[in-house]
Symmetry: C2
């Protein structure tokens, strides 16, 4: 089974203090950036349903911010790393992935990726160490007697299958509107898009700008929360393509204003992405292909132009291209014309909008809503002290048992024993016969 | 993937006349006996939700009876077979399976099974023929423009995987309270127990008898709707075991009254099985192991003693034994003592009741109810004209593509080509070198 490490939430059953029908204690081990946005949606729902939620986070945390909610508890442990250090390491990682990696040859690519990941693992390992070796913190967590751990297992220094084997339930951040159909185990639920909501009204200035687009509508453009800036050259290539569109463009952009920027394009430090994608004037979403953004587009039925940058983004966009709701352009090699052509096709060929609406209908038409199912399984693991009835025995097999090598070995041994015995018998009979014949001849 | 043929309902998308939000036209191709009981639960729900349901059945049908409901339409086509013929063939099949097959040796067993099934297939094939060659009937069905076919694919002369490949959605008549966890595809939903309901009050006479059991409670015993009678010898072995219990026994039994029958045991032509299993005085269910009966026991948390007779029943009981809610005795070889001991253990060792209650809690604790999910997917296939996004590409692969033999073949060809080229080059160089040396020597 191929499961992407970027798309799993795990439920690990802890202690046994949860009373049926009562409220439980949930410990959360989160991951930064887009993962945290999904997690927050689940945690808010759990708190609303009366559960006690504690998020374990380090003092260097970037987005996991104790000030976001008064009803979620935060257990912040000290770490030698500062928030800036952490942000710099991640920024460097992203820049290398975006700009340097595509230039590497096949072999040096893999050694560079490995080097990058070891750097990242080292940071995460130190954060883990600072938590685990903090005796006061560990004592406090142990006496708190949590019912369940909700862990986001991205980029940890163990194999994914090992971590997954320990989990009672896997919540996957996608669904079949995004995934290609393939087999999965019963303790897996696909809860993609759980953070999506109907669009709210836009701020006045933004709504006016959107309305000024008239019949042509608007283009929404964001490369996500992890990319802080683009090179001047790339920014100008993009801006000059956008300038040639009859649509108005809302571009979430933090860097220096590109000199090719057209009067139809406005730059924003932050955009209400979900509300914009749900706006009736929105024609296309230009995206780096993070799962959260893609899901907001699917939710509202908006076709996409994908400019994947790193990690799972190229793969995500490939899914959307295959489903017929997106075109892909290459960030490093595209010209203004490439981007412009892709945008024109997706805006003007009705098939992209039709497919996006189909995908949206499928997304909205499930036996139970993704957020409800995510919360259901968290509560289930607490109520039943796990979900043993959904756990496949495969997790307890060794690799040779998994591949049936023990069975094959035994059968081969049986065949060998039979062949050996038959050969011995034949030889014995043949010798006996030869002896008798010899004796007969001699007589 | 191992899917039992006895446990699947298929949804096959038909025409395109279903309007979103409106009501659809459902054509049903049912199977007899226990399968029909499940199907009826779904059909009643569909009718209640305003859909037009038409059941296609032959004049020889046994349980699929047009008089059961005025809101379900029945399209009964004439067939040369009579109801009695059909019932006799099935009865003979069951008797052979129960009494004769267990006496066969390993090899003759399989040839006998094959012979039995060919006999059954021949009957079913004739029923199919009588439908398909009935031009008037086919014209009527064609002009009716159905949105979806709900087909119960048991015992058809085609391979199961072929039939399944054509279906949009598979509804499996079990769930993970019954199944062992294993991978499955996204267009499969496990809706086992969809026919189960809370218990209703028993008829006065039966309730009095049940209450007369006092602290000891009662034993509910049924071998299902397909078994008409037992041999006198087997009936007496069973009756004398039941006579030694302190419990009162309600036995669904159609044959001659066994002379060993104790005063604690009452025989009934029919019992309200679900209501009895939901009665607080019920201690154990003696069952042949049909999925419907097992699901009623799971629903109400009642442990079981299994006496499997044929088809999937031994397998079903094996599942329940592994889940710790049942003991199994062998129908043909058991003595009164064997049955009595099994009953005593299941009644008196609290672990069986505990496990049954655990299984029941799991069964009742699902994100959506089985019947609701079954109806949801039928409506989904109508609303979206299929469920293409859930259909794995594997159904379109040939067997050599499925096993990646085309890829392996290509890679082997590449390796062979490289080895061939290298060998040729080496030989060429070697010859050249040898020639030069020879020439050098001669000079």
């Amino acid at each position: 089974m191929s499961i992407k490490w970027t798309s799993v939430l795990l439920l690990i059953q802890m202690s046994c203090y949860f009373k049926s029908g009562g409220c439980g204690k949930v410990l959360v081990w989160p991951t930064e950036y887009s993962h945290w946005l999904n997690m927050k949606a689940i945690l808010n729902e759990l708190v609303q349903r009366g559960h006690e939620v504690t998020v374990l986070t380090s003092s260097a945390s970037i987005l996991v911010d104790p000030s976001i909610s008064s009803s979620i508890k935060f257990e912040v442990y000290p770490t030698s790393l500062t928030k800036d250090d952490f942000e710099n390491v991640l920024g460097e990682l992203v820049d290398t992935w975006m700009y340097d990696l595509p230039k590497y040859t096949f072999l040096s690519y893999f050694s560079k990726v490995q080097e990058m990941f070891w750097k990242y693992y080292e940071i995460i390992r130190n954060l883990c160490k600072d938590a685990v070796l903090n005796k006061k913190l560990m004592d406090k967590l142990q006496t708190s007697k949590f019912d369940v751990i909700l862990a986001d297992p991205a980029g940890r220094p163990t194999t994914l299958s090992e971590t997954m084997g320990k989990a009672e339930m896997w919540l996957i951040r996608t669904y079949w509107d995004f995934e290609f159909p393939r087999p999965f185990l019963p303790n897996v639920d696909f809860v993609g898009g759980l953070h999506c909501k109907p669009a709210k009204a836009l701020p006045k200035e933004m709504e006016d700008f959107v309305q000024s687009s008239g019949e042509n509508g608007v283009v929404v453009f964001s490369l996500g929360s992890m990319v802080s800036g683009l090179t001047e050259e790339r920014a100008n290539v993009i801006a000059s393509a956008l300038a040639q569109l009859p649509q108005k463009v809302l571009w979430r952009f933090n860097g220096k204003k590109p000199h090719t920027l057209g009067p139809n394009t406005r730059l924003y430090n932050w955009i209400p992405q979900n509300d914009l994608l749900g706006h009736p004037k929105t024609r296309v979403f230009i995206t780096h292909g993070g799962t959260n953004g893609i899901y907001e587009a699917i939710y509202h039925g908006i076709p996409m132009v994908g400019i994947p940058l790193f990690a799972d983004q190229p793969d995500n966009i490939a899914h959307m291209v295959t489903k017929g709701v997106a075109l892909r352009v290459d960030f490093n090699t595209m010209s203004s014309t490439d981007l412009l052509n892709a945008l024109k096709i997706v805006i003007n060929d009705p098939i992209y909008k039709e497919n996006a609406v189909k995908l949206s209908r499928i997304h909205h038409d499930q036996p139970a809503k993704p957020l409800d199912r995510a919360v259901f399984w968290i509560e289930f693991v607490m109520r039943h002290k796990g979900a043993k009835h959904l756990r496949a025995a495969v997790h307890d097999l060794t690799w040779f048992q998994y591949h049936s090598l023990d069975v094959i070995g035994f059968l081969l041994a049986c065949v060998a024993a039979v062949i050996f015995t038959i050969t011995k018998c034949c030889l014995f009979c043949f010798r006996k016969f030869a002896k008798t014949r010899k004796k007969g001849k001699r007589d």
